[in-house]
């Protein structure tokens, strides 16, 4: 590279790379260092090197294990619900009805409202609106305050997350469905294939790339959930819905266990990285086959 070119290269890339280094790279590295220390976050207090102690402590921390289990349960339910609903919406919306576009617009709308606001709206629904419906209809076994019941509070989170994300996966499934050639469907119709056969034998196999994208998008989204968790349940009742991300937040900023919390954050990173890399590998494999 000529000297002048080097100058241009620096001029174009250094501003962004400088910001990126100070915001992402340096915090990531010192974050790893912090995870080996015991510190309460107060600058005047000493940071004590404890080696792998924090990591050992994490796996004896019942509340952390519980939050990991909550996250897994939530993620599995959310994965199924979001993709099922998104897929159904996309199939309905691509049927060329006159109201299809309007319906698509409405199904997608919740996705644009932030998770925090969504959680607050649904908090009212699951507490007061549900109590009200229960009183009116007498169906107290379904319509009661869901957020006070550990099991149902988790389902409530699944519902809110589904409400938010179904439209998002719908958009991706629609793109996939529009890629299915029309004449293929027509030919199948002529051959007497009914709707179920057309779906399972033609459309679903051709949608496999969309399935992969949507599954992993919801997987990582659900796994990292924080905003809805905070505004809908705050982790309650009695920590029954405290997810991974919120447990880390509470450990660091709630209890002031900066070292221990950061060690959890590193574990969190490793798990997210493994999930995402698995996705990349699977997607790449598919592309080769197609």
């Amino acid at each position: 590279m000529k000297r002048k070119d080097k100058g241009w290269f620096a001029l174009f890339t250094v501003p962004l790379l400088f910001i990126f280094t100070t915001v992402v790279i340096i915090p990531f590295i010192i974050g790893i260092v912090y995870s080996f220390y015991k510190w309460d976050g107060i600058p005047a207090n000493p940071k004590i090197f404890v080696g792998f102690n924090n990591f050992v402590q994490i796996f004896q921390d019942d509340r952390f294990i519980a939050s990991a289990w909550n996250t897994v349960k939530f993620t599995v339910f959310a994965l199924i619900a979001v993709n099922l609903l998104g897929l159904v919406f996309s199939l309905i919306v691509t049927t060329k009805l006159r109201v299809s576009n309007a319906a698509r617009t409405m199904f997608f709308m919740p996705n644009l409202i932030g998770g925090l606001i969504l959680g607050y709206i649904w908090q009212f629904i699951f507490t007061d609106a549900f109590n009200f419906i229960g009183d009116k209809t007498g169906l107290h076994s379904i319509f009661f305050n869901w957020l006070l019941d550990p099991q149902y509070a988790l389902y409530a989170m699944v519902i809110v997350f589904t409400w938010q994300m179904a439209g998002y996966t719908m958009i991706i499934y629609i793109a996939g469905i529009q890629g299915v050639p029309d004449d293929l469907i027509e030919a199948a119709k002529v051959d007497g294939a009914n709707l179920w056969h057309r779906l399972t034998r033609i459309i679903f196999p051709l949608l496999m790339p969309s399935f992969t994208i949507c599954l992993f998008l919801t997987l990582s989204g659900a796994f990292k959930i924080f905003d809805v968790n905070l505004s809908l349940t705050k982790g309650g009742p009695s920590n029954a819905t405290e997810m991974f991300a919120m447990n880390i937040y509470n450990e660091i900023f709630g209890y002031g266990h900066y070292g221990l919390g950061q060690a959890k954050a590193i574990i969190f990173f490793l798990v997210v990285a493994i999930i995402t890399l698995t996705q990349v590998i699977i997607t790449k494999k598919r592309e080769v086959q197609m």
Partner: protein
């Protein structure tokens, strides 16, 4: 017969879509009711349309200031993300050497890091800059914008990088021969050709930054600096929630989003599909 079936399915679809948005309905109707009416009939239409709770909510949550703050932080952040990332991506694509590859791979690899892994050490770094270089990184909009750019850089560079292949290099070479500097080549010739992907990136970032809660909550302490998601603190910070007031406040926060959606729906849906498939 077929015609009737079509009408029926159209009506069913409308019913389904409206039912899907019923939480929005519940939010809006209850923002007009007084406390007694809200608990007597949580699902019914309000008996009168009084905007007093809106006026009150607007005042309590400092809505206009929060709106201005959100708008400023989002627009300036997105502007910087688009300008700096497109420049970086172009140089990385056009300079085919080891260094470019390492930079690109580093940027892509960091997309794996969740925010919770970085939030605490990030605050320490920003505090370090503040105390040692006297640059106010915390509790300022400038600092928040700086961090937004850093966090969204890798995704934007990644998307620009992939799109850059469709930009013909012959045009750039011709312009260089005509005596155009690299700066001129990029801004006059390359950047206009990146319009599609720029719109996608801008839309994805606008949505993400407008709704962002955790990072602003960690950096902005002053009430006057709060963005819209932070302004809802007023309603949910206390022990008892005054729901009619809160619903008016939440409706206010949703209105700008709906307006944005109505006007740029086409681009949003395209952008989402393009951004997800990356």
């Amino acid at each position: 017969m077929k015609q009737i079936g079509k009408y029926v399915s159209e009506i069913l679809l409308v019913v389904l879509a409206v039912a899907f948005l019923s939480p929005v309905y519940i939010m809006v109707v209850n923002s007009f009711k007084n406390r007694a009416e809200l608990y007597q009939s949580a699902l019914a239409l309000p008996s009168s349309l009084s905007f007093q709770y809106y006026a009150q909510a607007m005042d309590k949550m400092n809505f206009l200031t929060a709106f201005r703050n959100s708008l400023f932080v989002t627009v300036v952040s997105v502007l910087f993300i688009v300008i700096l990332s497109s420049m970086t991506a172009w140089m990385l694509v056009r300079t085919n050497n080891r260094l470019s590859q390492i930079i690109f791979m580093t940027l892509v690899a960091t997309m794996l890091i969740p925010f919770q892994t970085l939030m605490m050490p990030l605050m320490q770094v920003m505090d370090f800059i503040r105390t040692n270089f006297h640059i106010p990184m915390l509790n300022t909009h400038g600092g928040l914008i700086y961090m937004n750019v850093g966090f969204n850089a890798s995704m934007a560079v990644f998307l620009y990088h992939g799109f850059m292949k469709s930009v013909p290099i012959a045009l750039e070479e011709a312009a260089t021969l005509d005596g155009c500097s690299k700066f001129g080549v990029f801004w006059r010739i390359v950047f206009p050709l990146l319009k599609t992907i720029t719109v996608t990136i801008a839309i994805l970032d606008v949505i993400a930054l407008w709704n962002d809660y955790l990072l602003p909550s960690l950096t902005l302490a002053d009430k006057g600096l709060r963005t819209i998601p932070l302004s809802t603190f007023y309603f949910f910070g206390e022990f008892t929630i005054v729901w009619n007031l809160a619903m008016a406040g939440l409706t206010l926060t949703v209105i700008p989003v709906v307006i944005f959606y109505v006007f740029s729906q086409k681009y949003i849906i395209k952008g989402i599909a393009a951004g997800a498939v990356k």
